[in-house]
Amino acid sequence: MSSRPPPGHFTLLYFASATAFSKKASEHFESPLPLTKLFELLESKYPGIKENVLHSCAVTINLDYVDLDLDQGADAEPVMIKEGDEVAIIPPVSSG
């Protein structure tokens, strides 16, 4: 579905409205990256993507949904995106 990321990188997959905005199906970014920095990184590369797309999206890491709620408490271990991870931006779905 996408090429393997080079060493020190993870893969990010886009779908539907996210693909329409980034004009990509996937790309690689440097790892590790704190999950809380992901949307900032994308906004810097694709200005406007947060407001137009990401605000309504969920995120999976290696097929599991992750909590994007930033208020995890001071003691909580921040979720890190690791080398080789497959991260996906999941827009609101529309099957059927």
Binding site: M1, F15, T19, I90, P91, S95
Partner: protein, 173 residues
């Protein structure tokens, strides 16, 4: 991907359960056969077909894309839950991907149960769960300057416009 041997993208199956994403034309008879059982007194089959308009705006064609491994897991979870909660003999959930011409089936759901009440209820619930959760997206192509719109099921909103056909990149359609 046009090769007929690659028409079926992904299938997960276990006892009484079949979930699938495919680029092929959907076959209602074949889906019913997957849930047939001598213990079943009822089979309910739902076929979702592509409509030629959205809020009376003419739609030229529809295109579905998916995150296949994630969508299959979601479909499997829905199927297991329906089978357990409604005491089904069998359940099959199949969604078509790629371009689906107007009037053709985009989703087929078949459930079998000892009695009809459970089958009716499970069929409806399975569809609503799929529409709410399966990682599959519909692009409505209006044609002309209008371009296409990625629909979102959850709010019936207009969705997000695609600038132009040339700019569409789609790894999984």
């Amino acid at each position: 991907m046009a090769d007929s041997t690659e028409q079926t993208l992904f299938i997960l199956a276990e006892e009484g359960i079949h979930v699938e994403l495919t680029r092929a034309h959907l076959d209602a008879g074949a889906v019913m056969n997957k849930v047939k059982s001598p213990k079943a007194g009822a089979i309910v089959l739902f076929a979702g077909t592509t409509r030629d308009n959205f809020n009376s705006k003419p739609v030229k064609e529809l295109q579905y894309t998916a995150y296949p491994p994630r969508a299959l897991q979601t479909l499997l979870t829905i199927a297991r839950t329906m089978k357990e909660n409604h005491g089904l003999q069998g359940i099959a959930l199949i969604h078509r991907l790629g371009v689906v011409p107007i009037g053709e089936e985009s989703i087929l759901i078949a459930v079998s149960a000892p009695h009809r009440q459970a089958a009716w209820r499970a069929g409806e619930e399975a569809l609503e769960e799929c529409k709410a959760k399966a990682e599959i997206w519909k692009l409505e192509e209006f044609g002309g300057d209008e371009g296409g719109v990625w629909r979102a099921n959850r709010d019936g909103a207009e969705g997000v416009r695609v600038d132009s056909k040339e700019e569409r990149i789609d790894g999984f359609a």
